[in-house]
């Protein structure tokens, strides 16, 4: 049963199993284990990014395609929900309409991009997607009547998800049963469901073909698989999951703007999470996203300490500024591409033998 739920793709390393159980348990009981608004926010972000990073891994790790348009689909999902809730009012049908519209747009765009440009070299595809994503970002900030421009959109979510909504007056285990809690568990449940679906996809015969294409496209084509079709399918699937992650983000934040879902910075973050966690294994997405977001939110405090410790040394002091956290993660990223290209998960699996 357990094996079936994970599609037969077990962690295959004792340390990794323990780590994954700890992460899942931490996320499942986050509101009770880590009190405070910031901790809950980090936990929700981790869930959303697990979906986003896993969907990117479908493309990068399993199919071997570098796309820079992934945040575009993330943004489409977030804007879909944001625009629908702003124009149609805070109802569940509006959420559904927003997600459906966003998915349709993502489907069309990803199919078009895929069919047009997946025939070419990896580098060319990376550049085309980068150009398209930049144009989309400009478009989103220009159509300010529709998208709120640079300011973005703040909107109301369905009543069940608002912080003011309360299930019961008595707190359960010291935690108020309000809409924030419901939102969190909605995010968590959807994350688990989407992750298991993706696990199912990559372990299906279809997923095997994707891996074959990654390893050797010529041989895959020679065996009779239409690589362009498979690559496009992978592109579309990955875009769809990214769109859903974007929708979750908008529902959680009750806000969406270009910087929260479309910026190139997020694209770089996703890339870092996939590679540090481990490409070509969805568990890498879980580990990478968790590590990255914890570091992003808490490394700054650590750096503050290091900064005050090194306050006498001029250059070192500047390197330990809390704002420079990306420097340290960047170094970790470069090191992981060289030293352990299969990421943390690959390293842990290799250790067992």
């Amino acid at each position: 049963m357990r094996i079936q739920l994970l599609s037969g793709d077990l962690p295959r390393s004792r340390v990794l199993t323990v780590l994954l159980i700890a992460i899942v348990a931490g996320l499942a009981f986050a509101p009770f284990l880590f009190p405070g608004a910031k901790a809950l926010n980090v936990a929700a972000k981790i869930c959303i990014f697990i979906v986003l990073v896993a969907s990117f891994d479908l493309l990068l790790g399993y199919t071997g395609i570098v796309s820079f348009a992934h945040t575009m689909f993330f943004g489409i999902g977030a804007y879909g929900v944001a625009i629908a809730l702003t124009t149609l009012g805070p109802t569940w049908p509006a959420v559904a309409a927003g997600i459906a519209g966003a998915l349709a747009l993502a489907l069309v765009l990803s199919t078009l991009i895929g069919l047009f440009s997946l025939r070419v070299k990896a580098i060319f595809y990376a550049m085309i997607t980068l150009a398209v994503a930049t144009a989309f970002q400009t478009l989103a900030s220009q159509m300010s009547d529709f998208t709120g421009g640079e300011d973005g959109l703040s909107f109301k979510v369905p009543e069940w998800l608002t912080p003011g909504f309360s299930l019961s007056d008595t707190p359960f285990l010291g935690v108020a049963l309000n809409g924030k809690l419901i939102s969190y568990y909605l995010v968590f449940a959807v994350t688990v469901a989407l992750f298991l679906i993706m696990l199912r996809i990559v372990n299906s015969p279809f997923g095997r073909v994707l891996q074959a294409i990654r390893e050797n496209p010529f041989r895959a084509e020679a065996l009779g698989y239409r690589t362009v079709v498979y690559r496009t399918c992978s592109n579309v699937l990955s875009a769809g999951f990214a769109t859903l992650a974007g929708a979750l983000l908008a529902l959680w934040l009750r806000y969406n703007g270009p910087d929260t879902s479309l910026s190139f910075q997020i694209m770089i973050s996703i890339l870092l999470m996939v590679v540090i966690g481990g490409m070509g294994t969805l568990y890498g997405a879980v580990v990478g996203a968790t590590l990255f977001l914890i570091v992003e939110n808490y490394l700054q405090d650590l750096l503050k300490l290091a900064n005050s410790a090194a306050s006498g040394v001029p250059v070192l002091r500047d390197l330990f500024l809390p704002d420079r956290w990306m420097l340290w993660l960047g170094l970790l990223f470069v090191l992981s591409v060289y030293r352990f290209p299969s990421g943390i998960v690959g390293k842990l699996r290799a250790r067992r033998g």
Binding site: G64, I123, A131, V315, Y338
Partner: protein, 339 residues
């Protein structure tokens, strides 16, 4: 080369390469097409501004396309070299405030030339370090290259912030370069004139090296067939290091020019323009310097005309231009023939 191969009759017998003229005609065609849409004086101003912008873009993009052509290395770190060049110019110019503030051309030039030289030299050397540490271990792995140069870019950008700070720093033009020249009704900014001159010089220098020197011959041969050049006994790796140095130095030069054009510099200066550079070298044909030159001028001109005629369209004019060019020639204006 031995004397026997360079005798005159043998050379005459060689088939000459036919010059592909169609892309060359695009620029005058585009300029003429825009003429009826504006008044003459506006047209002169716009055309000049477009050419100047195109020249600066060309300086920044030329290194990128050469490095790609020779080694199939796609360097996202190029953007950081651009920012670095601009920051270096700020530092150098700040050491001689009286020379830049004076409105005598000679004094201004004697401040600007060292700034350009330092920017080129230092970015070139930093480029060498980048190639050695970041890129060399991942030759032949396109996926890893994209990721590693991206990571290198992130780290280097943070280092720039650590040295020069995250805030925008003004980079004012030296006094004599401010203002415009008036030709009839049309006003042409002086700095743009300088940009066009420097751009032409750089293009001329690259063209001369590539077509008239032995090193250039080897580079062109290497772009077409790396293994054959290696098997003839030339160390293409060493050649590539030289090209990488030159490419980074050009990025530094372009960075100074672009910084002076924008008049403020942030660490994001380079990464903000790099998408445009990608578009330019895709339009030109990856690896082709001539294509890159024409592509850059086209992008500059289209951007300026569109900015005047339809500002909303101008935001997407580069992408539209790329789509149009690629549907005409899917491999870019001058496809680089690889074996």
């Amino acid at each position: 080369m031995s004397a026997s191969t360079s005798t005159a009759p043998a050379l005459d017998a060689l088939p000459t390469v036919r010059l592909d003229r169609a892309p060359l005609l695009l620029i005058p065609a585009l300029a003429l097409a825009a003429l009826p849409l504006t008044s003459l004086s506006t047209w002169v101003t716009l055309t000049f501004a477009g050419l100047a912008m195109g020249m600066i873009i060309f300086i920044m993009a030329s290194g990128l396309t050469l490095v790609f052509g020779l080694m199939d290395v796609f360097n996202f770190g190029h953007g950081v070299f651009i920012s670095l060049g601009a920051f270096l110019a700020i530092t150098v110019l700040a050491t001689m405030p009286t020379w830049t503030a004076s409105d005598r051309l000679l004094l201004n030039l004697s401040a600007l030339v060292p700034a350009l030289a330092v920017a080129m030299l230092v970015t070139g050397v930093v480029g060498l370090g980048f190639e050695r540490v970041i890129i060399r271990p991942v030759y032949g792995h396109p996926l890893k290259q994209i990721m590693i140069t991206m990571g290198g870019m992130t780290v280097a950008e943070e280092l720039l912030k650590a040295v020069w700070g995250p805030q925008a720093i003004p980079l004012p033009l030296p006094a004599a370069f401010r203002g415009s020249l008036v030709l009839g009704d049309a006003a042409v900014e002086k700095y743009r004139l300088i940009a066009v001159v420097i751009g032409l010089l750089v293009f001329g220098a690259i063209y001369w090296v590539l077509s008239r020197t032995k090193v250039g011959l080897l580079i062109r041969a290497g772009v077409q067939d790396r293994e054959m050049v290696e098997s003839l006994g030339y160390r293409i790796r060493r050649l590539f290091v030289g090209v990488f140095f030159a490419g980074s130095a050009l990025a530094g030069l372009g960075g100074v020019m672009w910084g002076l054009y924008q008049q403020t510099v942030t660490t994001g200066l380079g990464s903000g323009i790099i998408v445009l550079l990608f578009i330019v070298i895709i339009i030109g044909g990856l690896g082709s310097v001539g294509g890159c030159f024409i592509g850059a001028l086209l992008v500059g001109l289209v951007g300026n005309y569109a900015g005047f005629l339809a500002p909303k369209v101008a935001l997407f004019s580069d992408i539209l231009l790329m789509v149009v060019i690629l549907s005409w020639r899917p491999q870019g204006l001058y496809p680089v023939v690889k074996r």
